[in-house]
Symmetry: C3
Subunit: 270 residues, 3 copies
C-alpha cells in the first residue's frame, strides 16, 4: 500500500520546484563520492559545483543556492574551506547541510564537527552511529557503516535537533527526520543501498538540492530521503549486482517524476 | 546526412594514429572527473597518468607525450604543480591543453588562469562562459555549466586564439574550434552529455591524446570534439538514463573505428 | 579445465572468512580509484574506509583489520599519513599492503617507497615494471601501465620477497605470487582488465581484505589475484566495452561464491 500524501509532505511540489529551479549546489565533499555526488545532483535536476579550496570556498558559496559539507575524507585545508564557507553561508542566509561521516572514529573528526556546528547547519544527515556520536560526543560505531538502529535513536535525533536548531535526518533501515517536535519515519529504500559507497552522501547532497530549490528544511530532508529510497527500490528491481545497481540509481534519480515520488513515498509521522 | 570529410579534417588518420601511438597523457585534473578521465583516455586508446604533486609534476611531464591541465577543483598545491609542469612542457616542446573550468566564478581561478596562460597552452578548451571569461577577464556564467551560446561567441574565440596563439575549442550545442583564422563548427553530440559530469573534461583530455599522438593542434581539437560528440550520439540511442549513458560513452569511445569517426563527423567551416 | 585446489590454496575458506568477518580495511589510496576501491571492497564483502589525513591516519588504523597504501597520486601530506599509519600498523601488528604505483617514474615516488619499505609491508603488489623498480632501484617502465613480462620476473620477485620479508605479488598476463621460497602462477584474468583504470589497485585492496579476514599473507595475495581474475573473466563475457566491463566487475565480485572461486581458480606452483 502506498501513501498518497503529497499534500502532507509536499513531495510533489518539492521535486517539481527542484527541476524548475535547477539550484546551484556548492559541495565541499569527500574524495570517494565526488563524482557520484555530482552525477546524482545532475540526474535529479540540480546543478553541482565542487569547490573546496580555502582560497575560494567562501567567495563561491555566495553565488550558490545551498552548501553541502561532508567530512568523509577530511583534510586540514578542506576543513579550513568548510569553516570559511559555512560562516559565509550563515552570514548570507544560504542553507547548508552537514554530513558528519565517521565522526566518532577520530579526534580530528570530532573536533571538526564541533567547530562546524557553531555555524549552525540547516540540516544534519548521518547514520545512527554518526548521529549518536554528534549527539553524545561519545565514540560510537567503527567507522562509516550504517547500522540498523536508526529507529531506536529517534529520541536522540529529536534531542539533537532541539539543541542545535537543525533538522536531523538519520538514515538506516528506517530513516528518521525530525525538527525536534515533529518526526517522520521513512521506509523507502533497499538493502543494496548499503552495498555501494556514497548512498548516504547522495541523500545529503539532495537535501542541499531541495533546500536550494527553496524548500523548508524539514520538507527538504524528507523529500531527499524519499527520493533516494524510491530510486533505490526501482534500481534494485531484479536484484542486480552492486555495479549495475549504482548506475541504475542515477538513471532512476533522473526518471522519477514528481507524481511518482509522491505516490511511492512511505512516510509516516512518529 | 553524414559528411565524408576525412581528407579535409584528418579524422580517420587522427584516430588511427592515436591507437597506434597509445600516447602517455599526463593529467593534472580535477578530483570529480579523475576516474572518468583516466577511463576515457584508456577507452579511446591512450595511456593516462594522473600526477599532480608539485614535487614530481615537472619531472613527470618530460616523459609524457602531452599534458592536460584542468582547474575544476583547483587547490594551491595543484596550481603549483600546474605552473611547474606547464613551464617544463613549454621548455620541452610538449603540447599542453588548458581547461579553465568555472574560471569566471572566483578570483582564485581567474588569477590561476592568467598565470597559466603565460606558459602558452597549445589548446584552450572551455564552454562558452569560460571562454568568454578568459577572453574578456569579465565574470561570466554562474559556474561550471555550459550554456548554448557557443555559436555566438565564435568571433570571441577567434580573437582569443589570435591573442594567445592557442587553438580555442568551445563546446556547446554547436562546438567551435578555431586557430583565429580558420574556424570549424561541429554539431555532433547529444543533450545527455550535459546531464553527466565531466563530458567537457573528457573532450579536453582527448585533445591531449590526439596532440600526444602527433596531430597538429587544430586537427587534434577537431578530432576530440567529433569523437566525444559521436560517442555521445551512440551512447544516447534509446534515451537511457544518465548512469547508463555514462558507461555506454566509455564503451563507444573504445568501439568507434577511425572509419566510423570520419563517416559520422558533422563538421563544417564557418 | 579448471583446478579443484581449494585444499591446496585455501581459496574457498578465504572468501568464506572474508564474507563472515567483513573486515574494516583502511585505505590511503589514490584519487583516481578511490571510489572504485571502496565499491570493490564493499562488493567483495569487506568494509572500506578511506582516511588519509596526517592528523588521523595513525589513530584510525588501530581500529582497522588491515591497511592498504597506494601511491598512485602521492602528495606530501598523503605520504606523511602513510608513514604514520604504516608505523602504527607495524607497532599494532596490523597487516598492510603496499602498491608502489609508477614507482619508477619519479624521484618523489622512489624516495617514498624507500621510506615505506622500512615499515615492512606484509605484501607488495605491483606490475612487472613497478616490482622491477622496487627490486633494483632502477628506473623502469614509463608509468602506470602493466606490461606482459610478469612471468619473466618471477625470480626477481622471489628475491625481493626474501630481501623485504614481504609476500610479493606481480600482476600481468600471468600473475606471480611468492614468499621467496614458494611461488604460484595465476592465469585467471582477461585483457579487458588492462583497459580500465584501477584493476591492479582493486587487487591490492582485496589483498588487504583477505589479510583483514585473518588469512596468511601468501594465501591472502593468492585469493585476491584469483578473485579479481575470475571476476574479470566473467565480466568480460560477450566482450563488452570497458564501461560495461567495469560495472560488471563490481557485480561479479559480489556474486562469486567461495565454491566458484575455488572451482574457477587457475593456479599452479612454479
Amino acid at each position: 500500500m502506498r501513501n498518497r500524501d503529497d499534500d502532507e509532505y509536499g513531495l510533489l511540489t518539492a521535486l517539481r520546484r527542484l527541476r524548475e529551479a535547477r539550484p546551484l549546489v556548492h559541495n565541499i565533499t569527500n574524495d570517494v563520492v565526488m563524482n557520484v555526488t555530482a552525477n546524482a545532483l545532475l540526474a535529479a535536476g540540480a546543478s553541482p559545483a565542487m569547490v573546496h579550496a580555502p582560497e575560494e570556498a567562501a567567495e563561491f558559496v555566495r553565488v550558490a543556492s545551498a552548501l553541502v559539507v561532508n567530512i568523509g575524507t577530511l583534510t586540514a585545508p578542506a576543513l579550513e574551506a568548510m569553516l570559511a564557507a559555512t560562516a559565509a553561508a550563515r552570514e548570507g542566509g544560504i542553507p547548508w547541510v552537514l554530513d558528519p561521516v565517521a565522526v566518532g572514529a577520530t579526534r580530528f573528526r570530532r573536533d571538526a564537527v564541533t567547530r562546524l556546528l557553531q555555524a549552525r547547519p540547516t540540516v544534519v544527515r548521518g547514520n545512527a552511529s554518526e548521529v549518536l556520536a554528534v549527539a553524545t560526543g561519545v565514540r560510537a560505531g567503527r567507522g562509516v557503516d550504517a547500522d540498523g538502529a536508526s529507529a531506536e535513536i529517534a529520541g536522540l535525533a529529536a534531542s539533537l535537533a532541539r539543541t542545535t536548531g537543525a533538522i536531523v535526518a538519520v538514515t538506516g533501515a528506517v530513516d528518521i527526520v525530525t525538527d525536534g517536535t515533529r518526526s517522520f519515519a521513512i521506509t523507502n529504500g533497499d538493502p543494496l543501498l548499503t552495498r555501494i559507497t556514497g548512498a548516504g552522501c547522495t541523500v545529503t547532497a539532495l537535501v542541499g538540492a531541495f533546500l536550494g530549490a527553496g524548500r523548508a528544511p524539514l520538507e527538504a530532508a524528507t523529500a531527499a530521503l524519499v527520493l533516494v529510497g524510491l530510486a533505490g527500490e526501482r534500481a534494485a528491481e531484479g536484484n542486480p549486482g552492486p555495479g549495475t545497481f549504482q548506475l541504475r540509481l542515477l538513471d532512476t534519480l533522473a526518471q522519477i517524476t514528481p507524481e511518482e515520488l509522491a505516490a511511492g513515498a512511505k512516510v509516516r509521522r512518529v
